[in-house]
């Protein structure tokens, strides 16, 4: 249990303790985004966002959350809406590119193109950021997650069109770029500062140095 002295890995320790029978309930502070989401689901399904309906949705969400508790997700405690918006716009563009990419590969068959399974150690230690990076990179061109090593925040990806070691490095740089964008948007203050020192304060497409 040498992880105990790593302050930022609280959540991992919490989850580990779960297996020994100690259940950690999420506090309201950790749970309110989930409640909000459930209320939204309720309103969307009824297509009715009137106050009464939402109130009833809130009651149902609270009942659900208490009946089916999940391990708490530690929120980074920082969100930058402007970077979130930029990230989303960029992401949407990438989704279009991804489909075009798959379409091109599917229709113009190139037998020689090879792929690779590569390890990408991320700088972040937050589960939320690791998960989001995994989701984003699965939905944008070229990559998807084969395996995750949570304790070292390493993602193992399958990457299309890798024919040389230079391609591998390029792929890693791409993933680190996604991570940088995500930390800019929702990373914890510490990680945000680290990224800012590494890449400068701008949100340009500059690739971080390795």
């Amino acid at each position: 249990m040498k992880d105990k002295n790593l302050k930022h890995r609280d959540q991992r320790i919490d989850d580990a303790l779960d297996t020994s029978g100690v259940r950690h309930r999420a506090t309201f502070k950790q749970e309110w985004p989930l409640l909000l989401l459930l209320i939204f689901v309720w309103g969307a399904l009824w297509q009715d966002f009137s106050a009464g309906n939402l109130l009833f949705g809130a009651i149902i969400s609270i009942v659900i959350v208490n009946l089916f508790p999940l391990p708490p997700v530690v929120l980074p405690g920082r969100i930058n809406l402007w970077y979130c918006l930029k990230l989303f716009a960029w992401f949407l563009g990438q989704v279009f590119v991804a489909s075009g990419h798959v379409a091109r590969v599917a229709i113009v068959r190139r037998k020689k193109a090879r792929s690779a399974v590569i390890a990408v150690p991320l700088r972040t230690e937050s589960d939320l950021v690791v998960m989001t990076v995994g989701h984003v990179l699965t939905l944008i061109p070229g990559s998807f997650v084969v395996d995750v090593d949570r304790s070292s925040s390493t993602l193992y990806l399958h990457y299309l069109d890798v024919n040389s070691d230079a391609d591998v490095e390029k792929a890693r740089a791409n993933i680190h770029d996604i991570e940088r964008r995500l930390i800019m948007a929702i990373g914890s203050p510490d990680e945000y500062e680290a990224i800012k020192n590494e890449c400068g304060p701008d949100f340009s497409s500059r690739k971080p140095k390795k």
């Binding site: 249990m1 989930l34 297509q47 489909s99 798959v102 090879r114 792929s115 390890a119 395996d147 399958h158």
Partner: protein, 137 residues
């Protein structure tokens, strides 16, 4: 204006269906399991977006937009998870064509791990485990 919107809706519907078709073609023509997962996850996410956008324009209903946002959001969350689970299971049951891979940096990690702990032994909490992706709250 109505004609224009109808035309736009029709275009979006056709494009959306085309994306599903491409996903299908990709599934058949891609050379190995892991490449096929790319075809299974990517085009249909966009196809769904286009189809639903066309539907909303056709029905002219603002009330559908939250439902659409919800459905698309859930798709964004679940498509990568399913690709990950299939890819991971396929990798570990050795259904991956190794000769199509340029490098494989996961192989060593897995074999090290199986040697030190034994594949069937319960993984101690502090060890790097084959963790499932933490699902969002």
């Amino acid at each position: 204006m109505d004609t224009f919107l109808e035309a736009l809706a029709a275009l979006l519907l056709v494009l959306g269906s085309l994306m599903s078709l491409i996903a299908g073609i990709g599934l058949i023509t891609f050379p190995d399991l892991l490449s096929r997962m790319h075809a299974a996850t990517k085009p249909q996410v966009l196809g769904f977006l286009l189809l639903f956008a066309g539907l909303i324009i056709h029905l002219r209903s603002w009330g559908l937009i939250p439902v659409f946002a919800l459905a698309w959001g859930l798709q964004l969350l679940t498509a990568p998870v399913s690709a990950h689970m299939i890819g991971r299971a396929g990798y570990r049951t050795k259904h991956v064509a190794k000769e199509t891979l340029h490098v494989d940096e996961l192989k060593q990690v897995i074999s090290n791990h199986s040697q030190t702990t034994g594949t069937t032994a319960a993984v101690p909490p502090a060890k790097p485990a084959q963790n499932d992706e933490p699902e969002s709250t």
